[in-house]
Symmetry: C2
Subunit: 589 residues, 2 copies
């Protein structure tokens, strides 16, 4: 197949688009792969669509290879199934809602767990029908609050979502592993440098969950990896390894002290060191217990106060906190709300007034590091006063623990004894997920087991975004002169440039294009005549980023053409007669 | 490729779905090709998706063959371009509208003229860039008032829409012809029995327009064809050939007569024959002129009365009338509105009180048959009174003509001298359309011509619905026992049934499946063991409708298998060893 630049529906741009935030976005627009129609909504021009389809087909082949079967749901979906799982409400503003001419409610599918569950319920009824994996590749819709970076985070985007259905947990484990292996093959094929990180299970319960992140400085997802072992996790999913309880027989009794004007940890530590100096070492922020008050907004609209205790040298990480509580939303507690709890004194809040059994009745959860026997300086619930030597398990008992403290470079790895965590950024490319039985329960998907008893099916959910993958691949391979596609996803195999005005050059370039096309090689042939200079053609070729660029130009007089590797920049002169065979060798690998 | 019935995600149904209106819908659901999610919204199960993709690829190949380039627009579109062309308003309730979280207006694309026009405006600027044809295959959305017949008229459906862009009318003619030829190849390949009929140009102006209709009794579109020549037209698009003017020198003067209690044509004709008998022949309805009053509802909300005159033996055809006036809507004039025009007497309305120059000021358009010199009996605008011998051009002059009278079997063909029209029903499968310059003007698509002058581009629009095609093909080929696919769109090439319980039968069937698959033949292999009887398997095979059915059963003892042609029912016994070669021969044609 030959695309000719003289007729191809593409125009390269010299200038960056105004709204481009990341290099891949800038270059995909400039090279004529995509165009923006509205925030987070894009058109795929012919070159872009070719890359998208290649990515989709790589994914499709691996899905088919593990026996997953393709079907296709509508994007426009009735409300009712999403009400059964509460997601109609839980999604809040994040979904597009529509009323039809009769006033019936619809949504544009953000993900299709409900529909897949229902179609299996419709067709299947016996354990003999399982295991089953089914998938679709389809446009999905999310009304993102901040659509970003072109097709990296769009509001309309392409998604491959598959779902597994099993009779028991062992079956789910096996289906999950099959998908995980397929995803590894897909990401290898797509040419990603990626990490597989532990992730939060999310709203609907479920257990095991991992994300495939493309390593990228522009990535929105922060994850941590261990310096020693292969542990990697989304920041939300990092679990702190709780230290062992500490003996506190020798601990002095808790004693309240006047600490005037110390509403912040910094001012408190300074005061402690001045008024109550310690012999062994100075007081540090980590000796204090900071109690943060928030309000939980439940999906049904009810509000609930919550107190979170973290060591004074850490902050409450909003994303980690929300990750634990999803779909509940979290807000800071404002003055008006605080005023409803007279036992709590701003700046001096302490465990004495917290906990479900306390005067305030506010649930009190603490960081896992705050274990039995540890000693803390914390608020005395009196203005200008703190309690010193407050011992967990002796002087107070929290209602439980929560993973809400921020994660820092250098934190101990929760998986091995010697490593420390370091943070990195990535783009979420895939998410595999043991959903378990929550959707099946909500929608009544049961089958008969071997004994003729109805049992609830257990499910897995597995997603990859092909449109985001196009941007992420571009992001990971581009350089200062343009895009530079891996061979398996490039829009064509070879870009032939006719560089010069002579008839002989066009004749040789054209016949090379035909020869390659006849051998099944896809060619982009820059056949533009007239005013388009070789310099412009080279710049376009560099920008468009086809992995192999053949220049038919001056060398033709000596019987050679130049073959250039776009990624490495390496060039070699090859005899015209050998050029086709040479290129075929490169393409076939 | 082998699909095995034991694992394929399909279940056949013995009973018809409740909501099925037409045979194709019934069978596509029963055979496990589609499932309904909401009115006009369907899921494609694996077998259905395979057929849909084959149809799409046949269309894609022919589009590519005429040099059209594929791209893909979003389905979720911003309002502004559709406001520029007034279609945001004109579509009324027929589009799905959405507000995003910021309150911005969007729609789900019903068709993409605006977006195609804008992308060409974005990329192109010179006559040298033209001609251009671009297309997409994509989900489209229309909030039909009556979604119908499964995927025949859905609210979410797949559409291939292409658009041509030319510098002048000759270019548009050539692009139109190329698409027309490609459509003929597509419809031949899809195995349709179809008619190409003249159609209305529709809302946005434009000139030439033809529809490709699949002939089908269940079709919603009525068209007429000539008994003699190749004329065929949508009923809306039929143009009446106006007779030559008639000399009226000898016509008697018009004379008002008392015709008490004759508000209907029937009562009038009876009275005429009783009170004013003619010598040569009796009065008939066709001698009278019926004047019908309607109200036009313009898209901007204004209302305008209109009078339409037709021969008394014809009715005003609402669809034909609306076809002429689109996007204006038409309502009958009610009593209250009529009362505003005191010159008009219900049941006795005549041209004397009609026309822009008349006392009523109501525009008066007549059927083209009402030509100069013809004589009519018509209302005298006085209760119980009609005028006889009212001559067009002498006694009254209408404001113009309109194609609003109903079209009947036996009407003269407008294209030849001897043929008469007969009506037939069809399913609209494709529509090709010379849009002209209306969209380019509304959205400012101009390019520089040879003289450096800006000129407006002229466009064509060409659509086919692949999802509707699947239903229409099914409808045209099914029989009383099930679906019966043409080879080019069948979900697989051959259906192998292992009919029996013996190990040897399964071994032979399986090895035949493998052998065919290795040769590139797609196989559906019914490998179900246990309780599934051969009878059930045969019924399923007939229902699913793969064109070739191979039964490996009792004959195996004699070394033969049965090869059955699903459409004709013809069967032959073939030696096991020859079966694969035989099937390959059938598949390759």
């Amino acid at each position: 197949m030959i695309l000719r630049m003289s007729t191809l529906f593409v125009r390269t741009l010299r200038d960056d688009p105004n709204d481009a935030e990341v290099p891949s976005h800038r270059l995909l627009v400039r090279a004529g792969y995509i165009r923006r129609n509205a925030p987070g909504i894009y058109t795929w021009l012919p070159l872009g669509l070719r890359v998208l389809r290649k990515v989709e087909n790589i994914i499709r082949d691996e899905m088919d290879a593990i026996g997953a079967q393709e079907l296709m749901f509508p994007a426009l979906l009735p409300k009712e199934p999403y009400e059964a799982t509460h997601r109609w409400t839980d999604y809040g503003d994040n979904i597009f809602r529509i009323k039809d001419r009769k006033g019936a409610d619809y949504l544009l599918g953000p993900t299709h767990e409900e529909m897949f569950t229902l179609v299996v319920k419709d067709l299947y009824s016996s354990y003999k029908d399982l295991p089953l994996s089914i998938y679709q590749i389809q446009n999905k819709y999310r009304d993102e609050s901040r659509p970003r970076a072109g097709i990296l985070r769009g509001r309309e985007f392409v998604m491959k979502d598959s779902y597994s259905f099993d009779i028991d947990d062992a079956g789910l484990d096996a289906s999950y592993q099959k998908h995980r292996d397929a995803y590894i093959r897909i990401f290898d094929k797509l040419g990603f440098d990626y990490a597989i990180v532990k992730a939060m299970a999310g709203a609907m319960g479920g257990s095991k969950s991992e994300e495939f992140l493309a390593k990228a400085a522009v990535g929105e997802d922060t994850y941590v990896r261990c310096s020693n072992c292969d542990y990697a996790a989304n920041v939300e999913a990092v679990t702190v390894r709780a230290p062992a309880p500490v003996a506190y027989d020798d601990a002095p009794a808790a004693h309240a002290e006047e600490t005037p004007d110390t509403p912040t940890i910094e001012s408190l530590v300074a005061h402690l060191n001045a008024a109550f100096p310690r012999e062994d070492r100075p007081w540090v922020a980590g000796d204090t217990l900071k109690n943060v008050l928030v309000v939980l907004k439940h999906p049904d609209g009810t509000r609930e106060p919550l107190a979170i205790g973290v060591p004074g040298d850490r902050e409450v990480d909003q994303k980690r906190l929300e990750g634990q509580l999803e779909p509940i939303e979290v807000e800071p507690m404002d003055e008006a709300e605080l005023a409803k709890h007279p036992a709590l004194v701003k700046g001096y809040i302490g465990p004495g007034a917290l906990g479900e059994e306390s005067t305030s009745g506010i649930r009190f959860l603490v960081d896992p590091r705050i274990v039995e026997g540890t000693r803390w300086v914390t608020g005395a619930n009196v203005p200008g006063s703190h309690v010193i030597d407050m011992v967990v398990g002796r002087d107070f008992t929290p209602d439980g623990t929560i993973e809400a403290a921020d994660v820092r470079d250098g934190d101990a790895c929760p998986n091995c004894d010697t490593g420390t965590l370091e943070s990195a950024r990535g783009i979420e490319m895939g998410h595999i997920f043991q959903l378990g039985r929550s959707y099946a329960e909500a929608l009544g998907l049961k089958v008969l087991d071997e004994n003729g008893k109805l049992v609830t099916v257990t499910m897995g959910s597995y997603g990859i975004g092909p449109s985001r993958a196009v941007a992420a691949i571009a992001e990971g391979t581009l350089d200062e002169i343009g895009l530079s596609w891996p061979r398996d996803v490039a829009p064509v195999d070879v870009h032939i440039v006719a560089a010069g005005k002579e008839e002989a050059i066009f004749a040789a370039a054209s016949s090379l294009a035909e020869e390659l096309s006849a051998q099944g090689v896809d060619v982009l042939y820059d056949d533009r005549a007239g005013k388009v200079s070789p310099g412009v053609k080279f710049k376009d070729a560099e920008l468009i980023g086809v992995p192999t660029i053949v220049t038919v130009g001056r060398g033709l007089a000596d019987g050679t053409v130049e073959i250039r590797d776009r990624a490495s920049g390496e060039r070699e002169e090859v005899a015209v007669g050998d050029a086709a065979a040479h290129v075929v060798g490169l393409v076939r690998g």
